[in-house]
Structures are given as structure tokens and as C-alpha cells.
Subunit: 463 residues, 2 copies
């Protein structure tokens, strides 16, 4: 079977499953719903849930076991999962939240409306609610906001045997823990050291943890921002780092996977901002009102910027009236400025994200961008000059439009390269603002170059 | 100290460190170079290396210990690390590669020129080279290409004690392993089960692994694509999955972090493609020739598409000559079509990436996009109509340009929403092609709407 036939077959099955699931939900057939959910291949769940719509998603979560509902919700983007929780009965939502790891609890509680969040917390199991409340204090993009409270810590005076006994006795509770490391603390709860499970395996049962631990392990403060965490995980091979408060007390563990997820989410947010979604988050299942907020204002601001840029055009009305052919080139130079600028902008944003450059490198970046801008300017400039010459049979028209495009391309390339750096130096979000500012400038310069050139060359253009 | 002062202070220190490092490299002072490298804060390394430039990067890697050089190289984006290796002496490059995990070896060897890759492999340690050659057979975005060969596997007939003894004896070799799971195999090397290190800890020394293992564990085939792996890791809490070949033999372990990294890299590639970098990869340290390849062709194709779209403008020359004010609105309707389209495009690409929608959902997506398109069309249409009316004192001109912008905004929103889905159904890379095709269509429709409208309303526009 060919690959595309295979894909079609799978898509058909997914459609059928979604349809069956919808019917089963409507019939409130718990057994059938559970069987269908288990039949869905991994990765297709978000797709099928998306097709259900908010109302049926909520009914589904109310029908199945709360631990399964928790798993399903975690497959959805956070804003969507929060919408489902908000649409649910408080007791039921709390039961589902109880089944989630502490950091996911806090993220979702932070994403729902404040009064619902308080209601859920009151209905949750006291221990879970307490952990969640503690995590809710921290900003989501810090070690405190990303950490989990499911970690193992023992006083360093204990022996290997004591730990093994505890692991045995609480096997049920620890089943859901990622036991990666065992942290050691002193009697005040201050972090002292770390050891790996295999270190326990290789040592005598009566040995004290203090003899096995790696002292003064790398730890992070609750306020450590996510990009610093990302750098630490890139530099070191750890799966998790202990998180301490200002007094050095161990309060959580931040895992590599949660940091990577947060970085991916941040990248996706920048991406959407760059394409004009103001908040950096939109899924079409969101309420229309929310979506308007993200898009319409940005679009209106862009219209105003476009009007400003185009306002130079009427200044050359006289020239335009005499060389009507020049009108053809106005949208072209505007589009090409945007295209060149966005290439260059993209590379800078990528270099920024990879930590290769910082806001102070504008000059260096501009210098490296310049030669490529010149090459591209020459290529597209010569192409457009040829079009202008051949179409109107006037070599001077070709020269005017080609030169204007070439110069504007160089400008757009260099400006696109430095714009995000300049904006972040003055504290403006480069992802959201770079595009509109850049195209306003290159539109303006493009129009002036092409119309100003035509005005200067007017006698030759009318030959 | 304020945050921005703090940032400036750190930036200054980085500049100084980069400068000192450069001098130390020039003086070939190995001790000093090593000391400076160790002083660099985590996360600043890529930035400082970027500032050095290819030649000094290469000299740096040749000066320091090969295991430290391996660590530094892994901090760099793959294409840049490959460039450094290519610029190096073969023996030295091989020694550095020997120090890397098997999957990174294979990635880098796959990224350098084929003849250099062969040269490096010949100089590498036989065991490392063999592993790397084996991994090089697999496509980089499959389980085979992502897996590592550093994992623990024991025959299931062995006892816990045998494993502990092996761990003890080979502690040195295993130090660099992420011992997450212990896989069990039969005498033919077929995967049988999995157990966690803590399971060993909690069991009697004489027990056989067969009694402890979880049988028939979830495993993936070497050809499993990265997005399927991503779904599996989202669904299950594992840190790694065993990889088997077609006969069921255990050949590697794929880790969650490597899958997440591959997904992030793919997202970054789509992002750059969408902004017009053809190959999806550019760093300004790459050779100019490479960078031209990625940008210039795409830019030239866009120019041709722009010319095609603008080619309708001269058809309305007569109308333009009579209503010169209409020229002002041509670049505006073109820009706004692009802006609206890119918002909508961005949301679809994000929903696709999150697995919420598939290529067959075009109709559903269009239907959800429509109301927002209408709202945005009304808002920007009314704004532009007001500008047209007030500026020229002609309500009909306002009506023409406002209606054209409103209709074109609806079209751009819906088209932007379905374009990536339609393109991926016919097997075209949506990230690279969506933008240019979309703006060509919305430019064309925008020009026809605004100029056609003006032509129809000509008598009223000339009042």
C-alpha cells in the first residue's frame, strides 16, 4: 500500500472513531466510551478531541475515570484544557486535577479564571491542594513554576537500608514518581547532596547516605528563569535539578522534560506573535471574543502603519500621472521589502533563540548580513530592471525600478537583521513588533526610492 | 541594581571573556584557554563561540582536551559544529567524535562532507566507529537515527546479583550512560522485558531478571518516525524506549530528550522556511554560498509571483489615470492581505504541529475561520472606507476601497487557514510554499477587487 493510501486509511478510521465516540458520549455509555478512548492510536487523541468541540469534550471528561480524564486533558494544549475544566462541575474538575503531577496542576489552575481556581482548590485533596497553592505562587516560567513536588529526599544521616525500606513501604505512592535522583537534606531541610539510585545498588546496606552523596550539587533557586534552566540542562546531562528557596531549603525538582516543554511553548508563542497573533496563543476552539482580541487590534495597527507608509505616494501624484507604468511597481517593491526583511529577521530570531547572539551584537550582525543583502539586491534588482525595460521598452524605467529594488533589498536585509536586537535592547518584544515596524520602514523607503527615482529621471522616462 | 543594568554588566563581562579567550587562543596558551572556558557561565558559550568565528573556533577545539571540545561542540547548532569539524585535522576531529554519545556522533558525521566523514570514521576508535556507522544507516528523523547505543541489556536468565556485579566491574564505562532502564533479552538478543533500577534495589540478590521484568514492553521499530515517537512520549511517562530491528532484536534506546530536541529542531526549520529560508537552516556563520542558496532562489521566485499578481494592474490603466487617488490604496490592500493571511496561516500551522487538526480538516477549519474573517474584514474595511471618504471627500471612493479590503480580508483569512492543509494533502511542504502562494492569490484578488470596483463606480468617483 502506498504511503498516501495508508494515510487516507488511517484518517478514515480516525473519522469513524471520532463519530463513534461522539455517539457513545451522547448515549452516556461509559463502557463504550472507555473502550473507544483506549482504541485511539497515540497522537490521534488531540485531533479527535478537537473534533468533539468543547461541550462534548466536557461530557467525555465527566464520563470516564478521573485518572484517564487527567491523562486526556494533559494531551491538549493548556488553554484548551483550561477551557474544558472551566466548563465542568467543580467537584469533578478537582478530582481530575488531583490525578495530575503537581506542576501541571498549578499550570492549569493558573490558566482558569481565579474564582473557579479557588473553587477547585477547595474541592481537591488537602495535600494536593497545598502543593498546588505553593507552586501557584511562582511565575510559570521559573524553576518554581516548572518544578514538581514528587521527588525523594532523605536526611543524610540515614543508611541505605532505611531508604530501601521506605521505598518498599511506600511503593504505591512512589509508583507515579520519576525516581531519578535521591536528594539528601540536613535536619533543617537544607539541601546537602544528591545520589543516583544505582549508587544505592552498588553500596553496602548499612552505609550512611552522607558517605555516598555528591556534596554541594548543582541546584537552582525557585526564581531561576527558564532560559537559564535550559542552558544548565544543555551543559549538564542531568534529568532533573533540585530547586531550593532563598534559605537553601529543598522545595522541588525541575525536570529536563518540563524545561524543554516550556522552551518549546515559548518558541511557539514567538512564532505566532511574529505572524500577528498578539497574545502568542490561539487555537480555533477558543471563544471568538478571545480570538478577536489576539488578531483584530494587531491588524488595525498594521493598517494604520500601512497608511502612514503609503502617505508618501500622493506626494508624487504628478510623476505618477505622467508615468502611469510606475504604479505597477509599487506593490512589488513593498512586497519584496517584506520578503527580504522576513528572511533576515527569521535568521536573527533563530540565532537569538539558540543563544548565539545577544542584543549587543547588532553591529556585528549587520556587517555579516550586508554582503548577502547586496547579492540579493543585485539579483532581484537586475531581474526587475529587465522587466521594466522590456515591458515599456525604456531602459531608463528599468534602471529606476531596478536600482530602487536593489537598494531597498539591501536596506531590508540589514534592517531585518538588527531590528529584533534593537527592539529587545529597549525592552520591546521583538517577535510581535519587528515585522510591522520593519515593513513600515521598507514600504516607506521603497516608495520614496521608486517614485523619487522616477521624478528625477522624468525627462528620460517620457522619451 | 536594575535588571537592565545587571544585563549590561553581564554583557560586558561576556565581551571581555570573549576578548581574553581570543587572545589566549592566538597565544596558544592551553592552560589559560581552559581556565577561561571554565569561567564562561552556562548558556553564554554559544554566544562567545559565535563571536570567535570559524577559524578561532577550530583552533580552540584543537587546543583543549578532546572531551571538553566534544562538550563545546555539542553546545553549537549542528551545522556550525559540522563546519568546525570539517575545518579540523582528521585525527583530532576523530578524537573529539569518540567522546560524544553515539547519536550525536552519527548526526555530525551525517552533516559533514561524505569524504571527510569516511576519513573521521577511519581514525575513530573501532567500537565507536562501528556504532556510528550502524546509526548512520538510519534516517535522522527516525528512532534509528535518534537512538543511542549506550544502554544496559542483560539476558533474562541472569540474577540480580550478576547485574550488580557487572555494574560494579564496568562502573567506569557506565559512568557516561544514562542508566534509566535495564532491558532484558533472550539468548538471540530479542527484546523480552524491561525493569527499572529501583526494581533491582527492592528485590533479593538471587532472583532472576525474568521474575522482575515487565514483559512485552512498549518498543519502537528503527524506522518509527519522530512524530510518532513524540506522541508515544506524550502518552507515556517513560524517559526512554527500547528500539528493535525488524526481527525484534534490541539495537538501541531512544530517549525522550532526543525526541524533544528533534521536534524542536523541526519546528525551528518550519519557522525559517515560513519566513523564506529555503532549506530551513541558516546561521550567519555559514558560508555566503550556502546562505545564497537558501535565500536568493526563494526571493527570485517571489519576485516572479509578485509580477504575476501585479500584472492585472495595467489592465485598469484607464481607470487609474482617471482616479489617481486609487494608487495610494494598492500597496495597502496587498500588505493587509498578507497580514491577515499570515495570522490565519500561523494558527493552522500551530494546530497542525500540536496534532489538533489533519490535512482532511480543511472544510471544518474554513468554517471556524470564517466568522473571525468577517469581523476583521468589517473592522479594517470600515477604517479604510473612512480614510478614503475623508481624504478625498468622496463617499463612493470610501465605499469602493472599504468593500474591497473587507472582502479581501475574509478571503485571506479563510485561504490562510486552509492553504497548509491543502498543500500537505498534495505532498507540498506547507511551511515553504504557503506564504508565497497565499500572497500571490490575495494580491491578485485585492487588485482586481479595488480596481474593478473603481472601474464599476467610475461615474460616482469622478463626481
Amino acid at each position: 500500500m502506498s504511503n498516501s493510501q495508508e494515510n487516507t486509511r488511517i484518517s478514515m478510521q480516525i473519522e469513524e472513531l471520532a463519530c463513534e465516540l461522539q455517539k457513545a458520549i451522547e448515549q452516556k455509555d461509559v463502557g463504550l466510551v472507555t473502550r473507544i478512548v483506549q482504541k485511539i492510536p497515540p497522537g490521534e487523541l488531540p485531533h479527535i478531541l478537537w473534533q468533539l468541540g468543547l461541550e462534548d469534550q466536557t461530557r467525555l471528561m465527566e464520563l470516564i475515570d478521573s485518572d484517564e480524564a487527567a491523562e486526556l486533558l494533559l494531551e491538549l494544549p493548556e488553554s484548551q484544557a483550561a477551557d474544558v475544566l472551566e466548563a465542568m462541575d467543580g467537584v469533578r474538575a478537582a478530582a481530575i486535577l488531583d490525578q495530575m503531577p503537581s506542576n501541571e496542576q498549578a499550570d492549569l489552575l493558573g490558566a482558569v479564571a481565579a474564582e473557579r481556581s479557588e473553587e477547585f482548590l477547595k474541592q481537591m485533596m488537602p495535600g494536593e491542594a497545598e502543593d498546588a497553592r505553593r507552586l501557584l505562587q511562582y511565575r510559570p516560567d521559573t524553576a518554581g513554576g516548572l518544578m514538581i513536588t514528587e521527588y525523594l529526599a532523605y536526611e543524610e544521616s540515614l543508611a541505605v537500608d532505611d531508604v530501601i525500606q521506605d521505598l518498599r513501604e511506600n511503593a504505591d505512592k512512589y509508583r507515579k514518581y520519576d525516581v531519578l535522583y535521591i536528594y539528601t537534606i540536613d535536619s533543617d531541610g537544607l539541601l546537602r547532596g544528591v545520589l543516583r539510585v544505582r549508587d544505592l545498588l552498588l553500596s553496602a546496606p548499612h552505609q550512611n547516605l552522607v558517605a555516598l552523596e555528591v556534596c554541594n550539587p548543582i541546584s537552582v533557586h525557585v526564581d531561576t528563569p527558564v532560559d537559564e534552566l535550559d542552558h544548565l540542562f544543555r551543559k549538564h546531562r542531568f534529568f532533573g535539578l533540585p530547586v531550593v528557596d532563598s534559605s537553601g531549603r529543598l522545595v522541588g525538582m525541575v525536570r529536563r522534560q518540563d524545561v524543554e516543554e516550556a522552551m518549546a511553548e515559548r518558541a511557539s508563542r514567538s512564532f505566532l506573535k511574529l505572524l500577528g497573533i498578539a497574545g502568542g496563543e490561539e487555537i480555533r476552539s477558543m471563544a471568538l471574543k478571545e480570538r478577536i482580541k489576539g488578531r483584530t487590534v494587531w491588524l488595525s495597527i498594521n493598517l494604520v502603519l500601512d497608511l502612514i507608509a503609503a502617505s508618501v505616494i500622493p506626494l508624487f501624484e504628478n510623476t505618477i500621472a505622467q508615468v502611469l507604468a510606475i504604479v505597477f511597481f509599487l506593490p512589488i517593491i513593498s512586497d519584496m521589502g517584506g520578503n527580504t526583511g522576513s528572511q533576515s529577521l527569521g535568521v536573527t530570531l533563530r540565532e537569538l533563540a539558540a543563544g548565539l547572539i545577544g542584543p549587543r551584537d547588532a553591529w556585528r550582525v549587520a556587517r555579516i548580513e550586508l554582503p548577502l543583502g547586496v547579492v540579493n539586491g543585485l539579483v532581484v534588482g537586475i531581474l526587475l530592471a529587465a522587466v521594466g525595460w522590456i515591458w515599456q521598452g525604456n531602459v531608463f524605467l528599468g534602471a529606476v525600478v531596478g536600482t530602487a529594488l536593489a537598494l531597498n533589498t539591501v536596506l531590508a536585509a540589514v534592517l531585518g537583521a538588527v531590528m529584533p536586537l534593537a527592539l529587545s535592547r529597549v525592552g520591546i518584544d521583538p517577535a510581535l513588533a519587528s515585522g510591522p515596524i520593519l515593513t513600515t520602514i521598507t514600504d516607506l523607503s521603497g516608495f520614496v526610492l521608486i517614485l523619487g527615482g522616477a521624478q528625477l529621471a522624468l525627462p528620460w522616462l517620457l522619451m
